[in-house]
Symmetry: C2
Subunit: 262 residues, 2 copies
């Protein structure tokens, strides 16, 4: 079996398709863009596409499929979104009902798949630029917070932005802003730094999702729009049927991280 | 009456609404972003939104309205897209049937309006950077060409990219690339320069739309994705009902050109 820590995105997808990979994808196929997955029926897809268009920082779209077509023609021609992720979540009326490793039997002619950029891409760019990423150093999940910053609503979708946080010195925060500005399809530049309360976060030590990390003297918390936002908004809207990736179990594209640089 | 050559975007909209302005908008409200308009019924809007998402260089979306709502909440809150442009075109089954100056009586609860970025924004930025714009110097319309570069299709929408052309020296072309790269929502960086035949243009002296311009010794033609692309694709798809702006008669937003810089 291929060592997936040095494999291509395509090799990771094949391992998923064969049922050989059902675990999280961080660290696999380094340099390849990983993506969040949201699948919705066509009659909900316009509202969701509009929500992403209006909120590109939390919801940077990489690819959207034709209704019924499980092939993401832009980011991975030949791939099959029904089999090529390690694990999925199946939702009915906003409730999690199952975590399958293959969604072929749930696929329908009216389903539209959305692939959304992911923070792994900009974290790789930060590390390459010498900017430390605390939750990677501490080997935990990134801390994420619900804010009081509203997303621009679209049809049935509305809700606050969710942000991720990485503590940095001011000089590192400036460099991080430069590096991430070039990656608008991986959440782009930070949305805030400093006082958490200014964006409605009352307890920086108790994230709403993920794990707390150490903020050292001389560091400020720096906040990025987070890909959990569309999922939170989606579950709040309670569509009758939806499929997402299982958290951490992302879709590996054929795009290299450098393809996202603008 | 306000001098619209020094007015705000909002003042231009008011003049349109009162029926005082029915002529083209180039040169009006300098510094304010002007936008192309496309209006489609909801059952065509998903395909068109997807087409724009897949082809952001020719179709950079600035705002998309909720079905039935004529107010562009992002770029001009309080505006009314039914009255606030100088002139419109009404299309049925891909045929131009009327050029009204007000579309209130044609408005329907299922109509979705798309506002798309426009080359005026990057031409202002080029002039500010000392890069000449030939068709402005020669006081004609920009030359535009159908290419053999296919857009990524979406549902019922497909077709080749239309490009605009400006002759530049190589050094000016480099500067233009830098300046326009910062304006992805105004068509962004050029898509090609040099040999017209490489993108399927056989007669540079005979543009498909607009007027020919002089290419001086030492200059190369530089090509940008053009906002005529979505209109050409739209008319080819022949939706039963569509409204666009009349060419040159754009929508004036509240955004300043600098708001589009990334």
């Amino acid at each position: 079996m291929t060592d997936l820590r040095t494999a291509t995105g395509a090799a990771v997808r094949v391992a998923c398709r064969r049922g050989e990979l059902t675990r999280p994808t961080p660290g696999l196929a380094p340099g390849y863009v990983q993506a969040n997955l949201v699948v919705l029926p066509k009659d909900w897809a316009f509202d969701f596409l509009l929500f992403c268009q209006r909120n590109p920082k939390p919801c940077p779209l990489l690819d959207v499929t034709e209704p019924g077509d499980p092939e993401p023609l832009s980011v991975a021609p030949g791939a099959d979104l029904r089999t090529d992720l390690p694990a999925y979540r199946l939702w009915r009326n906003g409730e999690l009902v199952e975590e399958p490793v293959d969604i072929t039997r749930y696929w329908r002619d009216d389903l539209v798949a959305f692939l959304i950029g992911c923070s792994f891409t900009f974290e790789t760019a930060l590390l390459d630029a010498g900017v430390p990423v605390r939750h990677i150093e501490e080997n935990v999940n990134v801390p994420m917070y619900r804010t009081n910053v509203p997303c621009r609503p679209a049809g049935r979708f509305a809700g606050p932005m969710v942000v991720s946080m990485r503590p940095l010195t001011p000089a590192q925060a400036v460099r991080a802003t430069q590096v991430c500005s070039r990656l608008p399809r991986a959440h782009g530049a930070p949305v805030h730094f400093g006082d958490p309360l200014a964006i409605g976060i009352s307890a920086i030590e108790r994230p709403d999702f993920g794990d707390p990390v150490t903020i050292r003297p001389g560091e400020v918390p720096v906040f990025w729009a987070c890909g959990v936002t569309p999922q939170a908004v989606l579950m709040e809207a309670k569509p009758p049927f939806a499929i997402t990736h299982k958290p951490g179990h992302m879709f590996l594209t054929d795009w290299k991280d450098s393809d996202l640089e603008e």
